[in-house]
Symmetry: C2
Subunit: 234 residues, 2 copies
């Protein structure tokens, strides 16, 4: 199969990239610059893709930031919330229709490249907060993508029923260099250890019983403190 | 209803804008700059929207042109084909997944604006050449857009079963100033009268028996000559 992987540079899409490489797919990767504070994740994506000898491209959609409105991920005026995704304040990290926009661009590249599918790494833990990570959304979008050209391109999302810790377990088996992936929404020098995606990252390593080699900011609590606080330290 | 109209500045989306204004919708319009040669259509869209007191915005997606590959609409190296859409050479005007990309951006703006729907003017004549103008594509994309946020946004396409001449007839009833719309793919000073969209434009006025006030290039054949040649002069 020829697959375009939507590759953020984070853990999930990197595990997906390694899985498809192990499956023997012909691969290209696409990262999206949508004006996120943590655009440094794109450098991680590039390095990881190049390490596997995979062509990596960036779609620059920064011009849409103003149109799509204020999310904590794209606006310097809205603070990145800290805590667990289960908490209400995490809604500030939603970028309206982000996934449809980025998947439609990836599908356009798949059509022009005559590739078979777009692969992305939505997993079951995403659903609670992001409407455009739901299985039924992805199913409907898959139907649309299949009809977007005369030749069928599909949307492949093998992690949709996995938890993030399942994804970490799979990545560990595939020798994914997790320490070379980037999650933190704040995009500072080190992972903050406290924003939604950092908490989710730490929780996933903990549940999967895989060593977390990520360098977190020194002021972040230890994983033992996070566990004791039921991942709700803030 | 609160509707965002995808407004190219061409005839169909202008009739849609006038129809929704007549229906009493609260409106905003969105044009997409995807690197088309005929980006001058966006100036027509802006003028038409402002004439109705409607907020008009442009999403700048020129950065995607290279990724999506060579279409005659976006590449100076591929000539814009002349003739009727029924002819095979018109495939050179397809931009991969263009409609999903632009509708997903419009849907993102609808979500952030808390609007009810995205309206676009695909009509039955588009289907023969553009896969992403098919009813079944639009149906699937509508399902996905409805799931893209917790609050439902829909995709409204009232012209999907109309011919372009039906759209012209409706526009004439609504006093649409067709002479202030732009179709021609070549984007020169005057409509060339010979590219796919110019031929379709002229045919639609002819079939609808509405006067065509468009200024075509002097070297273009007359409408009588076009009719005599069954719209296949080239």
């Amino acid at each position: 199969m020829k697959s375009i992987v939507v590759h953020s540079g984070g853990m999930d899409s990197t595990v997906l990239l390694y899985k498809l490489a192990a499956d023997g797919d012909e691969l290209k990767t696409l990262s999206i610059n949508y004006g996120q504070r943590h655009a440094k994740e794109i450098d991680y994506a590039r390095t990881l893709s190049e390490g596997l000898g995979v062509e990596h491209r960036v779609a620059d959609l920064r011009s849409l930031t103003e149109l799509l409105g204020g999310s904590a991920l794209t606006s310097s005026e809205i603070e990145v919330p800290e805590g667990h995704y289960a908490e209400d304040n995490m809604k500030a990290t939603v970028v309206p229709n982000r996934n449809m926009i980025l998947l439609s661009v990836a599908a356009g590249w798949a059509i022009s490249s005559e590739f078979d599918r777009v692969a992305y790494a939505a997993h079951s833990g995403d659903h609670a907060i992001y409407p455009d990570c739901r299985t039924e959304f992805a199913d409907a979008l898959d139907s649309a993508i299949r009809l977007a050209d005369w030749r069928e391109v599909s949307l492949y999302r093998p992690f949709v029923d996995l938890t993030k810790s399942d994804v970490v377990s799979l990545g560990a088996k595939l020798n994914v260099p997790f320490e070379n992936t980037w999650s933190c929404y704040k995009g500072l020098e080190l992972h903050c250890g406290l924003c939604g995606t950092c908490v989710e990252r730490r929780e996933a390593f903990h549940l999967a019983e895989v060593s977390d080699l990520t360098a977190y900011a020194p002021e972040a609590p230890s994983v033992e403190e996070m566990v004791a606080a039921d991942w709700k330290l803030t």
